[in-house]
């Protein structure tokens, strides 16, 4: 196995690797801006300088040449090397800022150059707190600047596209965004214009940066030059808590982080998962933060004289059980948008009540996928519903069934809104579980508010058969971070108090997971279903359904999701 010495420590490697990537893989630090593991390597920021050398090999003796102390003689490269573009070689000796004064000086001077025209507007910059330039200047940079002249001024607040805003003065021309559009999204919409100290990234004149993946450039921008229009000036990064979760707007189920403050999801960013989405996610998935917060069904609603009236949970529960008991024929409509746990308990509830088998209608829009991170399937859990044994049905068949039934129960699926059923089909005989107001809730007699992916633990199986789970990021009126150990808790959640001025109860929605409501309904009907938690439900699924055998939240967390289907396609990072 090949060896490499970094700061007098010996490391071994077997795969060809670049020195910077190797150093980062060891959990060591080396400042860099332009390098990104998924993009090409231009080595233009010059920040990852190291001293590098190779041992002198004596061919005649077939051994390394040794000095008087018996150490290998090292022939150093005459100048500092950029570690990002330097191939690791057997026996190579690297000195980083840890051991080399020259490297420390080099990093400091490069930062001084980079900062010559960079505005000192960190206090009003959105990137502050998660800014590689800010952090690395703090750790490795000079204390001040010797540059006393006027800084170069460039365009500010340029709306590059519908979702991305450019501040060209903050740009350090690392070209990560340009390389992203060239190599990953392949729209080629960005380029670097002008030259020298005037250059900055831009679209061609008359072109709009409307790349469906445009907001990934915001994530990889190492400064505050590219910011997201929907998140600008909304929150400081250190005020938010980030919770690992998954994207529920598409069948691909990208791994994401939900960024919350005071029980509002403020933005969604991709989380590295080589088996699903690599470093990226589509813009459409990020826009979902609004539906997680707003237009939510808060408290159960019953329809009286055509008007939806908020009612008590007791009343909702009794209405639900009465109608289910009274009905002769129930159309039981599960949902590819609901979690596996919800679908499972939903199906079991009606089986136990002897009221019919659950079906579901896949939400597929043919041709809407792009073969990358957007699939034709618009629902996060169609595969899960299928594996649970819910019967797959289509619009016409479901409409016939709904017409024949005297009660329709819909699990969190906007069947009217997505054109499967008409509002008339449902009028007067529908109960729906829903997290947001939509055309289906408008047609229902009883709406039971249920949690969404940001509020419950749930397993979702994506189009490739990979089971991933959500972790609650938002509290509902019925959950509490400190009592519910499933919930994530950020710094301010952990160390703040209920009485901090940034805490309010305004953003807590009165809703429960569907399985919880159905458990209570089952107790009411005496049909014997009882689950303490989503973990209970998943344990039962794992025990009873072969496809889910051995599945657990711990495994999903540790293995970044579990492949449930034998043929598991993945995208390359």
């Amino acid at each position: 196995m090949a060896e490499i010495f970094i700061d007098n420590k010996r490391f071994e490697y077997d795969q060809p690797t670049k020195v910077l990537q190797f150093i980062l893989d060891q959990g060591l630090d080396l400042p860099h801006f332009c390098y990104h593991p998924a993009l090409s390597i231009p080595a233009n920021c010059r920040q990852c300088y190291v001293e590098a050398g190779l041992p002198v090999f004596d061919r005649e003796k077939n051994a390394y040449e040794l000095d008087a102390n018996g150490d290998r003689v090292i022939r150093w490269f005459p100048k500092l090397q950029t570690a990002c573009s330097l191939d690791a070689t057997d026996g190579m000796v690297i000195k980083t800022h840890v051991t080399s004064e020259l490297v420390r000086r080099g990093q400091k001077d490069v930062l001084e150059f980079i900062l010559i025209n960079h505005p000192l507007d960190c206090p009003i910059c959105d990137q502050a707190g998660e800014c590689p330039l800010q952090e690395q200047t703090y750790k490795y940079g000079p204390e001040g600047s010797r540059f006393e002249h006027k800084k170069v001024h460039k365009p500010k607040r340029i709306q590059l596209g519908p979702r991305v805003v450019l501040d060209a003065e903050r740009c350090i021309n690392c070209t990560r965004c340009v390389r992203f559009t060239q190599e990953i999204s392949k729209t080629h919409q960005l380029t670097i214009v002008q030259r020298g100290d005037n250059n900055y990234p831009m679209t061609a004149p008359g072109h709009v940066f409307d790349d469906p993946y445009s907001m990934n450039t915001v994530d990889i921008c190492p400064v505050g030059a590219l910011t997201a229009s929907d998140f600008r000036f909304k929150a400081r990064v250190w005020e938010m808590a980030s919770t690992p979760s998954i994207d529920l707007t598409n069948g691909k189920g990208c791994s994401v982080d939900l960024w919350t403050r005071d029980n509002l999801v403020l933005r969604i960013t991709p989380r590295f998962n080589p088996a699903v989405n690599g470093h990226w996610m589509p813009d459409s998935g990020r826009a979902a933060f609004a539906t997680l917060n707003h237009d939510r069904v808060d408290k159960p609603l019953v329809r009286l004289d055509g008007e939806a009236i908020p009612t008590s949970w007791n009343n909702a529960l009794l209405t639900f059980t009465e109608r289910v008991t009274a009905a002769n024929r129930i159309a039981v409509v599960g949902s590819p948008h609901a979690s596996t746990e919800d679908n499972y308990v939903f199906k079991r509830f009606f089986e136990a009540a002897g009221k019919g088998a659950a079906v579901f209608v896949p939400h597929v829009i043919p041709g809407s996928g792009d073969g990358f991170l957007l699939s034709d399937d618009q629902a996060p859990n169609a595969t899960g519903a299928r594996l649970l044994g819910l019967a797959e049905t289509q619009a016409a068949a479901l409409a016939a069934e709904v017409t024949a039934a005297d009660l329709v129960v819909v699990l969190n699926d906007d069947l009217v809104g997505r054109g499967v059923l008409r509002a008339e089909d449902l009028a007067g005989k529908t109960i729906t579980f829903a997290s947001n107001h939509n055309a289906t809730t408008a047609a229902a007699d009883l709406v039971v508010p249920v949690t969404n992916g940001a509020e419950h633990v749930g397993t979702y199986v994506n189009v490739d058969g990979r089971a991933q789970r959500t972790i609650p990021a938002k509290e509902t009126s019925r959950t509490d971070r400190r009592l519910n150990l499933e919930m994530s808790s950020g710094r301010l959640d952990t160390f703040g108090t209920r009485f901090d001025n940034w805490v309010s109860d305004l953003n807590r929605i009165d809703c429960v997971p569907a399985w919880e409501f159905l458990t209570e309904a089952s107790q009411e009907l005496g049909t014997g279903l009882y689950y303490e938690s989503a973990r209970d439900v998943l344990a039962e699924i794992a025990a009873r359904i072969d496809a889910f055998a051995g599945i657990s939240y711990e495994r999903m967390d540790d293995e970044r999701g579990i492949a449930l289907l034998a043929t598991n396609e993945t995208v390359s990072a």
Binding site: H188, I192, V193, M202, A204
Partner: protein
């Protein structure tokens, strides 16, 4: 907005340019030159035309066009007078020459005369420090060792539709003027 199209002859030239390089990308610069010769400038519309003709991303062509100052990103006068005001020319009176031109034509550096005949630009070093002060006319002829009289002559020649000759420059010539 004017619409620009390449003639069949120009398209044939572009094909010939493309055949010179292993990738189409390399043809960007010569084709931009061809377009600038044809239309007098490479503004946004011309850049788009070049990108469409070559089948390259518009952003790439835009990036190349903005990198080089010799590509005119907007309509300029028929004659573009690039007066060097970099160090050597500055010392030898480059700014005096620039101001003389400005007074003579009644415009400032960066502007175009109302009749569309002249544009004056103050530019950085053109690599002719030995013959300072100097200017370049429309990315072409260098006019060296400028004096106000010489500038007036050049303006008159250009107005009459002529163009100043390339000046023989060499050690002998240089020594004589020194």
């Amino acid at each position: 907005m004017a619409t620009y199209v390449f003639t069949a002859e120009q398209l044939a030239q572009i094909e010939a340019i493309k055949s010179r390089y292993p990738s189409v990308q390399s043809a960007t610069m010569p084709v931009l030159w061809l377009a600038q010769d044809a239309f007098g400038h490479v503004d946004a519309d011309v850049q788009q035309l070049v990108a469409d003709t070559l089948g390259l991303p518009a952003s790439h062509v835009h990036g190349v066009a903005t990198f080089y100052t010799q590509y005119y990103k907007e309509k300029k006068g028929k004659h573009v007078l690039d007066v060097c005001t970099c160090l050597s020319c500055h010392i030898s009176g480059g700014y005096d020459m620039l101001h003389h031109l400005e007074n003579r034509l009644g415009i400032k550096a960066g502007e175009t005369t109302p009749d569309g005949l002249f544009t004056i630009q103050s530019v950085e070093c053109l690599g002719a420090c030995g013959y300072a002060p100097m200017m370049q006319i429309t990315n072409d002829v260098f006019v060296n060792e400028l004096t106000p009289e010489k500038l007036d002559q050049v303006i008159d020649t250009l107005k009459k539709g002529g163009s100043p000759d390339f000046e023989p420059i060499g050690l002998v010539n240089n020594r004589e003027t020194a």
